[in-house]
Symmetry: C2
């Protein structure tokens, strides 16, 4: 049994590599919900959808988000009605959002809907929102506090990042299956995917009980750096860290996770002199499915060595 904490694209790719190596039921993917938001009355869950689409092999590799074979008639018609154009909703993607919103409104928990959607798409791994309660990432910038998607998509991460908070996190209850997976006697390792530490993984750790469960772990916890030579593979992680006065690289990641991790996987391009955690140097870029599986295998082997 492996638990991986994941955000969007980097987390989804790494989880997909793990899924190819592990048997059905041996992987639990715990996913960030801080990016979730309501748009046009629809509940959008970007990280859950990216993980689900990727594990179902439905992810759009050209775009880096959304579904393969996507069409855009809805956005075209919406534009002609004067509707908002800043957040793209593909026609196929809309089926996810509309059905999810409808079922949430009927009182179903998010996790049950996510599980049904994963099953309908033939996914054999457990995909769990870290909580069924609302956690909403807010970014304090030089232009004031912005909802995450306003910062991330509408403003393209251009405002200077000053601080972050996870509204609702203090009231959120961790999903019981997440705590159960972290306490499972069959658990071999906890992995922290190469997602954005501040935007994608911090809101997972901010849910009460999650960091404590990691701190009480009986198995190795290994994080994969999302940085290569001071640059993020994707997204604004490097820009944000610099705006907070941190140098994006192994030392900042190690300091960020502190005692929560036993090992850190960094790229060959990076160097670090750290007393802890233990380091694994490798090629952290996942270029394709084979690259995902190679990285996943190396990380699993590293975690087993730390046991």
């Amino acid at each position: 049994m492996i638990v991986v904490l994941a955000g969007g694209v980097g987390g989804a790719r790494f989880a997909n590599g793990l899924a190819a190596l592990l048997g059905p039921g041996q992987l639990t993917v715990v996913v960030n919900v801080g990016d979730d938001f309501d748009h046009l009355g629809l509940r959008i869950c970007p990280d859950l959808d990216t993980v689900t689409y990727t594990l179902a092999n439905l992810n759009n590799r050209e775009l880096g988000w959304g579904q393969v074979g996507e069409t855009w008639s809805f956005m075209d018609a919406l534009g002609k009605l004067g509707g908002p154009a800043w957040f793209n909703l593909g026609d196929r993607d809309l089926a996810t959002h509309v059905l999810r919103t409808h079922r949430l409104a009927a009182g179903e928990p998010l996790s049950a809907i996510v599980a049904d959607f994963a099953k309908a798409r033939g996914i054999a791994q457990a995909i769990l929102p870290v909580t069924d309660d609302p956690v909403r990432t807010r970014v304090l910038t030089d232009e004031g506090e912005l909802n995450f998607q306003d910062y991330f998509v509408r403003r393209r991460c251009e405002p200077v990042f000053r601080a972050i908070r996870f509204a609702g996190a203090d009231q959120a209850r961790p999903h019981p299956a997440v705590l159960a997976a972290l306490a499972d006697p069959a658990l071999e390792a906890i992995l922290i995917a190469p997602s954005n530490p501040l935007l994608s993984l911090a809101p997972i750790l901010a849910v009460p009980g999650i960091a404590a469960a990691l701190a009480a772990r009986a198995v190795p916890c290994v994080a994969i750096s999302p940085f290569i030579a001071g640059q993020a593979v994707k997204g604004p992680a490097a820009k944000i860290m610099r705006e907070l006065g941190l140098e994006p690289g192994p030392a900042a990641i190690a300091a960020h996770y502190g005692d929560l991790i036993d090992g850190l996987v960094i790229d060959h391009a990076d160097r670090a002199e750290l007393a802890s955690p233990a380091l694994l140097h490798t090629d952290i870029l996942m270029r394709d499915d084979a690259g995902q599986q190679r990285l996943a295998a190396e990380v699993l082997a590293f975690a087993r060595r730390l046991a």
Copy 2:
């Protein structure tokens, strides 16, 4: 100034013929809302959309409903998620439903949204829901009472029709602009489109104040029969009338509207011996845009002769 009461396809085509003959602002289309319903959390307004798409020349002539150039990715993806397949929602059509639902949830009246959508689509005529309040057609059948779309789409009008009611109609307030149009000193005629008298026009007349305004009219009111030789041009009108023990034709229409109409337009294929209303025999089938305009011109001339 002309006011036309309209349901879906027949009403939309006739209104489109009138729109081509009358100047901007000279036509008010009062539309049935009894077919409206909520599906997957989205408010669907079939008759308002058919009228709007037709007046915008966006109507799908092959299907007879929905938008031209429609795509179906949403339905394909929805089916793969196990979502309901009985009501088709096109990708372009979804923009209407999602934006309308979102604006309704924010507290905007339906009429304001309809007006904005019509303006965005370049429509110069007034399209008014007969009321902003919910009126929902329920059909009592040999299988029990069904919501209208369950009867009409899901069950394809197969159950035997026994009675109809318009839930909410007694509490509904007619839209003030509808009453104002019916009382406008510039009004020349009131026209009742060749829509289904029982399913499309009765719910308009069931809204308090509408039938009274027609009864108090100072101008001719002319209805167009939706029947040709005992058959409806489209839809279940003839089947329903027979199930109620009525023969679909001029006499049943004249009896249905009674004193509310001064004239009735029927097809060359039909004959009637009636003391009133006055009859106009013509070709009531609207095969194309030219046919819509021909019928509209003949009906306008007939109404003017009755003045």
